[in-house]
Symmetry: C2
Subunit: 405 residues, 2 copies
Amino acid sequence: MTKTVAVMATLDTKGEEVKYVKKQFGKRGVKTLVMDTGLRGTPQGVKADVTREQLAAASGSTVEKLAAMGRGEAIEVMVKGIAKIVKELYGQGRFQGIMAIGGLDGALLTTGAMRTLPLGVPKLLLTPVAQGKQQFGPFVGTTDMVVMHSVIDILGVNEISRKIFDNAVGAMAGMLRMDVSTKIEGRNVIAMTMYGNTTPTAMLAKKLFEERGYEVVVFHPNGTGGMSMEEMIDQGLFNGVFDLTTHEITDWLYNGVHAGGPTRLDAGVRSGVPQVVVPGCVDFILMGPIEKLEPEFRKRKTYKFNPAVSLVSATREEMEHIASVMAEKLNRAKGPVLVLIPLRGFSMYCHPGEPLYDPERDAAFIKALKGKLSPRIRVKEVDAHINDPLFAETSVAELAKLMGN
Amino acid sequence: MTKTVAVMATLDTKGEEVKYVKKQFGKRGVKTLVMDTGLRGTPQGVKADVTREQLAAASGSTVEKLAAMGRGEAIEVMVKGIAKIVKELYGQGRFQGIMAIGGLDGALLTTGAMRTLPLGVPKLLLTPVAQGKQQFGPFVGTTDMVVMHSVIDILGVNEISRKIFDNAVGAMAGMLRMDVSTKIEGRNVIAMTMYGNTTPTAMLAKKLFEERGYEVVVFHPNGTGGMSMEEMIDQGLFNGVFDLTTHEITDWLYNGVHAGGPTRLDAGVRSGVPQVVVPGCVDFILMGPIEKLEPEFRKRKTYKFNPAVSLVSATREEMEHIASVMAEKLNRAKGPVLVLIPLRGFSMYCHPGEPLYDPERDAAFIKALKGKLSPRIRVKEVDAHINDPLFAETSVAELAKLMGN
């Protein structure tokens, strides 16, 4: 089947460039569906398959109104319209991959729509702003976005830009040829959250799950990883969840680097997926360089993880609050949940002889958690540290039981 | 010709994943050259074509010594060895594209070597850390790097990771099929630096150059763009340089966002390429959100460009210093240089009625620049604003003359 790629750009400033890209896709047997995201000058070079007027209308506005708005406001309005049309056309099978060409505004405008498409759909952003201090987050979100740095401004078809465009076309055409399915067929997939900090138990659990015939998909709960997992839980992709590292809750409540927002744990709770939830690494806040910590944090137990990252011990009061937030969320669980507590420490450096060890505080957390959890939520305490083999073995056996094995 | 892709990863933790990727490349008719960047556990899954011992030796060290070093130090040492081997093997035609799979350490370790390869060579980084607050700069540098977010941790071959790996393989195989040449054949290429702020003259100059049979390659001088241009100048890619927007010098001297480092202007100077140099946008420092400016900058003339960017007027003293730095660099020029000065303002918002207008300061800059430039460096003053058509026309005519037309 001939594949089609949706190409988004502002045709007033990038019409000639899109014309070249379209021609190169044609040579590789790939059709294009050109979407004009421009607002101001006259479209150049190629005819849009989806016009700016159609995009504006889908945004509940008009080109004239949008052009008169401030830059930020117009982007905010248009993102919604573009996302709506992109989802519709993808749903109708009108394209199988999507590519955007643009600067900062163009990238923000288009990637919002691209991010609504499922994992596996080829998504490519070609932009000169993928450099320096620009962060990945605003373009990539939680998706499998591919970003290519254009080196030069996207302005003109010349000997250098042709090399850049050709490789971008090649990358997209190559992804389309792989024909990656967006469906998840397997019915033996477990999601697991893992830090370097919880690797010993994660690796052993992965091995034990695999011996039982499961595949394990590992998420790094860095503020994005947990959200990615929860999106996939909502899509029903997993048979079970081993939420070993729920640290993002602490960073969300206390402004750590890996804050993932207020929705952590919610997908597991509302989906009814069987899950084993562990307070892994909830006992520290992940912060920046140790020498830049605020005085109030320097007074606490800390650990210099590397020059850019320090771990700051959570206080007893903070831990009690974290316990109540977790309990309040878990009490709404629609499916089978087991809260599994490692009595000898929730993280690698909270262990006798390690810098973040604080057993009294942990006891207060456990008491608070058990006190707030509804009686129908089962709790099991394991006389082990989170990284002890016994804890991994217990976790695997318990989740297997919840999944009916 | 069968293409080969170099695949870099730590085979102790990612051997099974590399094995899968190798198999998928094989199905697409692409050979692999596996380089093991691991240091600790036993390599798994596939046999390395370039072993960790070879990489360590190229780094002037041994695997044992490197494994005993701190994380940061080992990376610093190994980057050099990997870069050396990558350059050698690429030079011998042993591979035509390069791919790295890894987390933060792996990405830092490998992209340093990937960035030594010329523009046009397919370069792909697959990593879970391309998200959130992670910046592009450390991975991309000034190159045409392609970065793909893996969504999940690269740990295991499962139903989700196979989709990610397949698209990464497809993107690389597709780029290799394009057979993009790294050579620049054209002998009619002009490099130009342009901001949104200097777009009117840049666009008119581009049109006028094209009418004369030139191609114009446009760089965005955001701290990376200027460096990219200078690297290409050093490679001898351009017939002429229209350095319309030398703003990066100001941001380097006064800690602006678009600081590109101390080498700006140097490649043009040492290469002898004909150039027209303009003090475009040297009259402001590009800073962050206007409401977060330090008090000393709030006292100055400022312009809110957007919610994230403000332009802060440079003082007379700063401008005089900028003039002396530019003059000191340009005085070393080996080729024909014309310094072209727009007498009625160096940037869009320095114009009568605009917020950054300061003609007395500009006069002081011009006086300082002319005073410090060696008599053999020609200066021409144009009675126009930088964005007036007269200035664009004069620039084009003068650079054409310098290039012998």
